[in-house]
Structures are given as C-alpha cells and as structure tokens.
Symmetry: C2
Subunit: 186 residues, 2 copies
Amino acid sequence: MARWEPNAEGRLRTAAMELFLERGYDQTTVADIADRAGLTSRTFFRYFADKREVLFVSSKAFEQPVVDALEAAPADAPPMAAVAAALDAAAELIGANREHSRARQAVIDSSAELRERELIKLASLASALADGLRRRGVPDPQAGLAAETGIAILRVAFQRWREEAVERPLAEVMRASLADLTALVA
Amino acid sequence: MARWEPNAEGRLRTAAMELFLERGYDQTTVADIADRAGLTSRTFFRYFADKREVLFVSSKAFEQPVVDALEAAPADAPPMAAVAAALDAAAELIGANREHSRARQAVIDSSAELRERELIKLASLASALADGLRRRGVPDPQAGLAAETGIAILRVAFQRWREEAVERPLAEVMRASLADLTALVA
C-alpha cells in the first residue's frame, strides 16, 4: 500500500525546479527529484507520466478551467469575447508568480524536449478552445481561427509579462495584446 | 567516395511516403526507405537528419523564401500586409499538390513525434517572421503578435484547403482566412 504523503505533488514540483536550476534539466533524473523531495520514484510516477510533466500544470488543472471560462461567457458574446474570457481564466491560473514563471521558462528554453512538450500543450489547448467555440455555435473556419488567435495572444502576452521591467497583472497584458492585435489587423 | 545519385532526395521522399502509407510510420525504418529508393542509409542521412525530416521541406527551401517574401514587401507596407506577402509565398511552396498534402498530413497525424516536429517547424517559422518584422522596424509586441497570427492563419487555412470539397488555390484560402480573422477581431 502506498503511504499517503502530504502535498507530494507540490514537493516534487519544488524539488524538480531546484534541481533543474542547480544542475540542468538533462543532468537531473526522476530518482534525483524524488530523493530531494524525500519520496520515491514510484510516488513521482503516480503524479507525472514522465520527467517533462513535472514542469506542466495538468490539463485538468489548466486546460479544463480555461475551456470552462470560454463556455461560461454569455451566449450572445462574439467568439473573440469568449476567447478573451478564456484568456482571463488562463491569466489567473499562470500569472500568480512572475519569478517562478521566469525560472520555469529558462528551464523550458534550455531543452528541446521541453519546448516540444510546451508546444504540444498549447496545441492541445487551441484544439479544446476550438471545440468549445463550436459547441457555442461558432462555425468553421471562425472557431479554429479564433482559438489559434487566442493561443497566439497567450504566447506573446505571457512572454511580454515575464520580460517587462515593471510587473503588471498578466490579465492586463493579455487584454493589451488583444487590443494590439485588433489594431494590427484593422 | 559517395557516388552521385540522380534526384536521391526526391526518390527518398517518395519511397518514405509510400512506405509510411503502406506500413505505418512507426513500422518503417530508414533502412527500409533507402532500400525502396535503391539507395543506402548513409545516403539517406546525407539529406535528412532523422526519419522525421523526410516529411518536411528544409528550412532553406521553405522558411527562407517565406521570410524573403516578408522582407521584400514595400517598406511602407503595414505589418500584416508583409505577413500576407509571406503567406502568399508559403502557399506557392506548399499548395501545389493537394492529394500529396492530404496523404502527408494523415501520416503526420498518425504519430506524436511527427506532430511535435510539425509544431517545432511552425514555431521556428513564427520566430523567423517576427525577426523579419523587427528588421522592418516593427516594434514588440506587434512583431511577435503579427508573426504568431500569421502562423495561426497558415495552420487554419492549410487545413481548410486540404479538407474543402472543391479545391481552391491555397493562396486564396489564406487571404479568405485573413479576412475572416479581421472580421472576428473587429
């Protein structure tokens, strides 16, 4: 029987970030992470499918609430307003701690396999948002375009937020990026 | 000394597509592909870094001419007009043979590692387009937003073009998708 460990997931995530920053991602094993967290590799794999996943929020904890926000937008909201509601929800979930986001991104940028995993996660979110828009009655190609555009804004705004000299709320940077895009394509 | 083989690259690409469609991507080895093409694995690796690459146009043959088209747009063209010129060039390069594009996409969609490689190629193109826009004097975040939006249009339009009942030129579908996007964010 597995022993219940208080906050095992959080301890594994913290240990992983520490080790990735100290030694580098490639030089850190799952056994190292589990050891630093005072847990076993077996426990690690109860929470994460592989070493890469320890850097990503689960789709249940991120993609699902973002899609829920899209679906909860007023029925008569135009597609990009529903996407903006989804971006607000995303900002709330990933915009809490800028120092952590910067450190995490430095790790991701250091590894081709982490960059690939990040792109897969964003493609999955784009696909889930497009499906959500279709359920709201938005036809194709508008559903796909609005969803992909939302991801483009998320990517650019998340980077802008991490790099700006003076910190602003991520939701504000997302809204500003959407306004910039509107001006660009006008 | 390596013997010169006429059109070795094209023969390897054709052999690879045949085998991927016959047996599946995972069940085909580089040796199988070389054998079908009447060449050696060593020749394969002179043209492609790995098995995945045989399905992708080289960056010299695709990314570079697309960025060149962006840079060749009139100096006073607004950012999205320069992106539209890049999309025209992309359409010319990848819109020649719809049946081939459909078969190729079916192979890519069958394999997680191929989908990852496709996302990496598009991210690389987005980054190159953003750099090209910065060289044109477009500031950030507009450069990043216009580039990412261009890739969103490319993805959606390329899929739309492959799937439409009646074939239209890809450049026309790209322009229509850009117009749809403009209406969406207006």
